[in-house]
């Protein structure tokens, strides 16, 4: 094919000298090809279309992994996804700013998280957070919104304002009323709903919501183990920031945390949306019926020992989240955020000014991976999968995200993993390199 006839969109890229994370292993002497933002198998192109790589990318020995996915992030750079007072154009620009800023940490896809709010806020804000493909200049891909609340427990409200909390006595009608017409678009607009199983009507509404393709996550809940397991059988496949905003573990009623020890939940028919089997699964060969669970690995929200215990009881379910608040990405100082004065200190921790009350995390996803690996002493591959493959599986999108298999989106991170640490060196979104 003469070079002059190749369109930019048809260009085939070949990554050489890379170590690739493929099928749970780091392989050398393999190459990655992508075209039109998708990872391809070039063999048929070579023999049939007589095409070879148009551009060679030399990874110089770096470790190439799928782009990181953050399923819980409230904002950054002073921007909160629940802000609604400014005009739509300003809100849109703010969202773009966060999407662009996340790329440097290797985060190529995320679920903008909106804390419990009134209906008017969702009507205004959710349309701006619809699924949107990523690009090197436009920012990380927006998978869809993560609405955390308002169908949650006043007993475990955390920093949410309880005045807007609701119950679901009218089933899915209540959900549509609060979240607005965007909810009808299912996972094109709303990827995840965090809700408390013990709230009236919530459990019964789960199948209707799951039918729209939405991932149901249990959190901000005071539920007991029986209520949690019932929610799982109805279709809830995730726990929001395990350990935080839920009952503490009690040996006779382990509550939501205790779901990790569940042994007689029904085995799922399909592997979509369920963790892969591990040596701790009820059935070692079929998908794990236990849900995925988010972990905030800043070492502050959860004690490292707790992270380790959760991981070893259910390794394939771990999903790393940042749950950052708007102060993330800002230099240390004092900020007005969500009506309070928040102080961001040198090491990145954010406190309500003058107190030791955590106002949220300011951690980055790559730092989460470092900490997770340090706390659990797990292999590097598993730490990276907790931020790539597992969140993709949680959302049922592992065919295109969180993987370097053929057919996946070409969202790539080049890591320098010498000296036992990892550093983000290059980032690609939909096949375009990001200028770091």
């Amino acid at each position: 094919m003469p070079t002059s006839e190749i369109k930019e969109s048809d260009k085939i890229y070949k990554i050489i000298n890379a170590r690739l994370l493929i099928e749970h292993e780091i392989v050398e002497n393999a190459y990655l090809w992508f075209q039109n933002g998708k990872i391809i198998h070039p063999q048929n192109l070579f023999f049939s279309a007589r095409r070879d790589a148009d551009e060679i990318i030399d990874a110089k020995g770096l470790l190439v992994v799928p782009g990181f996915i953050d399923t819980q992030i409230n904002g950054s750079y002073g921007i909160d996804f629940a802000d609604y007072e400014e005009p739509v154009e300003v809100l849109q620009k703010n969202i773009d700013k966060v999407a662009k800023g996340l790329l440097q940490y290797g985060c190529t896809a995320f679920c903008p998280t909106v804390v419990s709010s009134a209906a008017e806020v969702y009507q205004k804000v959710l349309p701006l957070l619809n699924h949107r493909k990523g690009s090197a200049t436009g920012g990380a891909e927006i998978l869809g919104a993560h609405v955390e609340g308002p169908f949650i427990s006043v007993l475990k409200k955390g920093a949410h304002k309880q005045a807007v909390f609701k119950d679901a006595k009218n089933g899915i009608k209540d959900f549509d009323e609060v979240y607005g017409p965007e909810l009808l678009k299912g996972n094109k607009a709303v990827s995840i709903i965090t809700m408390a199983p013990e709230i009236d009507g919530v459990c019964d509404a789960i199948p209707d919501l799951v039918a729209r393709g939405i991932t149901i996550s249990m959190g901000h809940s005071a539920c007991r183990i029986a209520e949690a397991e019932e929610a799982v059988t109805k279709g809830a496949n995730s726990i929001t920031h395990l350990f935080n905003a839920m009952q503490a573990f009690h040996h006779r009623d382990p509550g939501l945390i205790g779901v990790l020890g569940a042994c007689d939940l029904p085995i799922p028919e399909t592997s979509v949306g369920h963790p892969a089997p591990s040596s701790t699964s009820p059935d070692r060969k079929r998908p794990d019926p236990r849900p995925f669970y988010g972990l905030i690995c800043d070492g502050v929200h959860v004690h490292p020992n707790s992270i380790r215990m959760a991981y070893y009881s259910h390794p394939t379910g771990a999903v790393l989240v940042t749950d950052t608040l708007s102060a993330a990405g800002l230099p240390s100082g004092i900020y007005q955020l969500g009506g309070s004065e928040v102080e961001v200190v040198e090491d990145g921790a954010a406190y309500i000014k003058g107190t030791t009350t955590l106002a949220g995390s300011t951690i980055t996803i790559v730092q989460c991976i470092r900490n997770f690996r340090k706390f659990t002493n797990c292999p590097l591959v598993e730490a990276i999968e907790a931020a790539t493959l597992h969140p993709a599986r949680l959302l049922g999108i592992e065919d295109r995200k969180g993987t370097l298999n053929v057919g996946g989106d070409a969202d790539l991170v080049f890591l320098d993993d010498t000296n036992g640490d990892i550093a983000v060196k290059r980032v690609f979104v939909a096949g375009e390199e990001v200028k770091l």
């Binding site: 002497n29 190459y31 198998h41 070039p42 063999q43 048929n44 070579f46 023999f47 049939s48 279309a49 007589r50 095409r51 070879d52």
Partner: protein
């Protein structure tokens, strides 16, 4: 025929890879005059390809103007099936090096007219000026490519039904299940290979010993089709010690001594890659005195 004997499989691999590298380098291929090479598949050449890939990565070899013709391909197997010879060549060589897709020729086992496909293949070989060097292996039954015992020694590219022994030998690539191995294949003929300007056959392992013995110590015989190499002006067999187990001791000693003589008497500087000899090494001035009884021998 040259017979180069090396200690083990790895030495054979390195010898062959270096030979190919040097042949290409000395040929100095260009776009108008590419280096045309015939390539085999199987466990013998796998390691050779590995070494060639390493050489490519070290910048020692360039495939830009190399044109390849593979020996064979199964009939009816999807081209991207993991055990097709297209997949084999892609995985072991083509995906690693800078060969141009349009310079690669592998028979299409799924062509609508198999005879036409074979004729086209022969025509393409002729069009590029014939094959400069044909690499090959040998089956335990002495076959070259899929030219099973009984194949005409003047045969050209055609469809062949595989012999039972070959199917058994290949079953290891199909989960050990003989029923999964394709029964038909397209293959270059014996004469197609022997038409190349040079033929290099790689023969390693004790299980190939009987085949090697029959092919070089027996007569030219269509039951051992590699024996056709006896009629080739530039045949080269590279084998390991194990493959010589069924040869006469005299044969082995002779070919080993050739290399020894070349080293001491001729010297690598006077020896061309393909075995041509320029002259003997310059010998040191003799201390013999010149007398009427000794001839006026000028040093």
């Amino acid at each position: 025929m040259r017979l180069v004997i090396r200690d083990d499989y790895d030495e054979v691999t390195n010898y062959v890879a270096n030979y190919v590298k040097e042949r290409i380098r000395q040929f100095n291929p260009t776009t108008e005059n590419p280096f045309v090479i015939g390539l085999p598949t199987g466990s013998s050449p796998v390691s050779v390809y590995k070494v060639l890939v390493e050489m490519y990565k070290a910048g020692e070899i360039n495939f830009e103007n190399v044109v390849t013709f593979n020996m064979d391909e199964y009939v009816g197997l999807p081209r991207d099936h993991p055990e097709s010879y297209h997949s084999f060549m892609w995985k072991n060589l083509f995906m690693h090096v800078n060969i141009k897709p349009e310079n690669v020729h592998i028979l299409d086992g799924n062509a609508p007219d198999l005879d036409e496909e074979c004729k086209k293949f022969e025509a393409e070989i002729a069009r590029v000026g014939g094959i400069e060097l044909f690499l090959g292996g040998i089956g335990p039954d002495g076959h070259i490519a899929f030219n099973e015992p009984g194949s005409s020694l003047t045969s050209r590219t055609r469809v062949k039904t595989l012999a039972y022994e070959t199917i058994i030998a290949n079953a290891r690539f199909f989960d050990g299940d003989v029923s999964k191995v394709p029964k038909l294949a397209l293959t270059v003929g014996v004469a197609t290979v022997m038409d190349a300007r040079e033929v290099l056959v790689i023969i390693t392992g004790a299980h190939k010993a009987i085949a090697l013995a029959n092919c070089i110590e027996g007569g030219v015989n269509h039951m051992w089709t590699v024996s056709a190499i006896q009629m080739h002006p530039k045949g080269l067999i590279v084998c390991d010690e194990d493959a010589t187990l069924e040869l006469h001791v005299k044969t082995v000693k002779y070919f080993k001594s050739i290399e020894h003589v070349h080293q001491s008497l001729i010297g690598p500087e006077n020896l061309s890659l393909q075995g041509g000899v320029k002259q003997l090494r310059k010998v040191v001035v003799s201390s013999r005195s010149q007398t009427p009884l000794n001839g006026p021998y000028e040093e």
